[in-house]
């Protein structure tokens, strides 16, 4: 026993000596990923390949690999090939966080592409910001964030419903019911939708949120039946969305008299629910597989024929992800030109990404560009109606690109600038999440 105590004391002593050693108190070295001559450009692909989030995120990984293959085939970035480092985040936010660190600190990638949900983005952002790194977030989100370390190529909440709500009000009537999954993005999207609804003279009859992953829509549909809206505005996501559309029809609702206008129900979902459950409903997105332009035809054909195209479809989330690769390419090239290849850091890529345009010839959804202040994307939201075969017919397209505004419904919070959130008091705060 005595012997043991002595041992313990020794260990503790060793520990305290180590703590007292001054160099150990220093924060560890700031991250400095740079490009090295003759080595490929490493980027991290942080998506879930297993677990509940794998449904959309596996496609994201595939389309990015396709994009980088395409870029490499055409000479790479600045003549250097891109090498994606693929990890599996296992649909587990703890793993997202761990893998982010691994990609940044160990793999020393120059940029990260990743996440599909806000929750996972929030899980990794502290790490990304702390290492002053760069995340391409390639899907729609709610906004109300102003960091100096993200570039988003999907629509913000303010872009998403700007056309959709007036369109639906005009076509089907003023009364609407909001249904969403119970988390941040649907709630924020609905706040935006309310703004447009008010402008369009519509009337909100009810607002319901159901738990993420739940497949029981009985109570919600009961409330909708009582409220008798002209259309439903849905921000239900994932498996729940499919259950929602199925039960909508099973409960005897008719798509002609009360369609669902959704921000999420794309080609993947309509195929999984069976086209007869999806047909007739509406979706607002910047991209549909059926978009009729040569770039899109090339993208769809090329992708489906490639070894990555096994899922047999392209949808808005994949296209937004595809674009992020080209935004990265342009940003890196601009940064290299500005500071020299040796000195390119994630931060310098980001700082040089403002105003980058992806032209019609590259972008399947048509010209987009990155906002110079908040680093979200100017894009044209389009409205599609699901057809009997599960594809979408574009019924309305914005005539010009809509500006992304992360703080559109929080004018008091200030405006997002390149260096941070500029409050009404004129103070600029960095990394507001």
């Amino acid at each position: 026993m005595q012997f043991t105590r002595r041992n313990l004391l020794k260990t503790t002593a060793a520990a305290s000596v180590a703590i007292a050693a001054p160099h150990l108190w220093l924060p560890s070295e700031a991250h400095a990923a740079t490009l090295k001559k003759g080595e490929p450009i490493k980027v991290g692909l942080l998506f879930s390949l297993t677990g509940a989030l794998a449904v959309p995120e596996e496609d994201s990984t595939l389309v990015l690999q396709y994009a980088f293959d395409e870029i490499n085939k055409n000479g790479g970035v600045n003549g250097v090939p891109v090498e994606p480092v693929i990890v599996d985040a296992k649909s587990d936010f703890n793993v997202y966080s761990e893998k982010t660190k691994e990609l940044i600190l160990r793999e020393k990638v120059i940029a990260l592409f990743g996440c599909y949900t806000s929750a996972s983005r929030k899980a990794i952002l502290p790490t990304v910001m702390q290492r002053d790194h760069l995340l391409y977030y390639p899907t729609c989100y709610e906004g109300a964030e102003c960091t100096q370390n993200t570039i988003c190529t999907g629509p913000l909440a303010n872009q998403h419903s700007q056309d959709l709500i007036p369109f639906m009000v005009e076509k089907f009537g003023k009364k609407v019911f909001f249904v969403g999954s119970n988390y941040v993005w649907p709630k924020e999207s609905n706040k935006n939708a309310k703004v447009w609804l008010e402008k369009a003279g519509g009337e909100l009859l009810g607002e319901e949120y159901i738990p993420l992953g739940s497949s029981e829509f009985g109570p919600v549909l009961g409330k909708i039946r009582d409220a008798k809206p002209d259309f439903i505005f849905s921000t239900v996501v994932g498996a729940s969305d499919i259950a929602f559309h199925k039960q909508f029809k099973q409960e005897g609702f008719k798509v002609d008299s009360m369609p669902i206008a959704s921000l999420t129900t794309g080609e993947i979902e309509t195929r999984a629910m069976g086209a007869d459950f999806g047909a007739g409903h509406f979706l607002s997105a910047p991209y549909f597989q059926t978009l009729d332009n040569p770039t899109n035809q090339k993208f769809v054909e090329g992708f489906l024929k490639s070894k990555y195209g096994k899922n047999g479809t392209t949808h808005y989330n994949m296209e937004e992800t595809y674009l992020s690769a080209y935004v990265f390419k342009a940003g890196l090239e601009k940064a290299a030109a500005a500071v020299g290849v040796e000195n390119v850091t994630p931060r310098s890529i980001r700082d040089n990404s403002g105003g980058i345009r992806i032209e019609d010839a590259v972008s399947p959804e048509g010209l987009i560009w990155i906002d110079e202040n908040n680093f979200n994307t100017w894009l044209k939201p389009k409205i599609g109606q699901c057809q009997a075969d599960g594809t979408f017919k574009i019924v309305k397209a914005a005539d010009k690109q809509v500006a992304p505004d992360p703080y559109s419904i929080y004018p008091d919070a200030g405006t997002c600038t390149k260096d941070g959130l500029k409050g009404p008091d004129g103070k600029v705060r960095k990394n507001v999440i």
């Binding site: 596996e58 159901i210 109570p219 498996a239 039960q247 099973q250 005897g252």
Partner: protein, 291 residues
């Protein structure tokens, strides 16, 4: 708020109850008889959905035939599982929980490897995509189908457990394994058959849920905890599970009517904890051998 809507909520509650119940039925049999805490139950439900999908997609079997076929397919899987693993763990109930959690991972990933992670689609007869309106109330045909299947299964199980020789044997084994053995009842065989039966019931639930919601490798995870709570609140008996699901389904529907779905769930979880505090043995405890 008008009376009609509340009535509708009550009717819906019955439907929700039947969904909770059919998810919990198989577990009730397995837990009630052998005390096995089967964490892979959700994955057995998932297998039921996938077997329906497979039969329909590759063999073109009509949906109504897929339901009983799923029963047998998943029952067979259950049989293999019982013979290969569970039977070694009967005297270690908490270990069955861990081992079957391992099984659930294997099944989930196995299905993903075979079928991919994108959702599958089971086509149901068009007649199921409509609703029945009774003037004041309205309910979807498919929910009535689920309710009907559930009622049928409960009735069948009641017959099986209380009116047949097999049922007598099962109850004998439940009460006292040693005593039953001395009467020549092979408890190993009884356990094997009940486990297969429980798995088969999960298969039926799966083929129904596949139409109601979605077919995904991960679909099972959302059912297992709630099914478990039903079984434990019910006390592991058939009547208990029926009563527990009934009460929970109604509560869920009515609370969701007055508040929202998420909060309704919260209240239900808390009520379950409070209930078990005062009646840890559940609503209708099995007259099993307890010390």
């Amino acid at each position: 708020m008008d009376l009609g809507s509340l009535l509708n909520a009550l009717i819906l509650g019955v439907s929700i109850a039947s969904i909770w119940l059919i998810a919990a039925l198989g577990l009730t049999i397995i837990y009630g008889t052998a005390g096995v805490i089967n964490m892979a139950h959700g994955e057995l439900i998932m297998l039921g959905a996938y077997s329906s999908y497979m039969l329909q997609f590759y063999l073109g079997l009509p949906y109504l035939l897929c339901i009983p076929a799923s029963f047998f397919i998943v029952a067979f899987v259950g049989l293999v599982l019982e013979r290969g693993l569970i039977r070694y763990l009967y005297n270690r109930p908490l270990d069955t929980l861990l081992a079957t959690y391992g099984v659930s991972l294997v099944l989930m990933q196995g299905v993903r490897l075979i079928f991919g992670s994108d959702p599958k689609y089971i086509a149901a007869p068009a007649a199921f995509s409509s609703n029945i309106s009774l003037g004041f109330a309205s309910i979807s045909t498919f929910r009535v189908v689920i309710l009907g299947v559930t009622a049928l299964l409960v009735f069948g199980l009641w017959l099986l457990f209380y009116k047949t020789r097999f049922g007598v044997q099962v109850r004998a084994v439940m009460q006292n394994k040693e005593m039953a053995a001395s009467f020549g009842i092979n408890s190993g065989r009884i356990y094997m058959l009940t486990f297969a039966l429980g798995a088969g019931l999960a298969g039926v639930a799966g083929s129904l849920f596949g139409v109601l919601a979605i077919v995904l490798p991960t679909m099972g995870a959302s059912y297992v905890v709630q099914a478990f709570l039903m079984v434990v609140v019910g006390g592991g008996s058939l009547a208990g599970s029926v009563a527990a699901s009934g009460a929970t389904g109604e509560l869920q529907s009515v609370l969701a009517f007055f508040t929202n779905d998420t909060f309704a769930r919260f209240i239900i979880f808390v009520l379950i904890v409070v209930f078990l505090r005062f009646r840890p043995q559940g609503l209708f405890a099995q007259a099993g051998a307890r010390r």
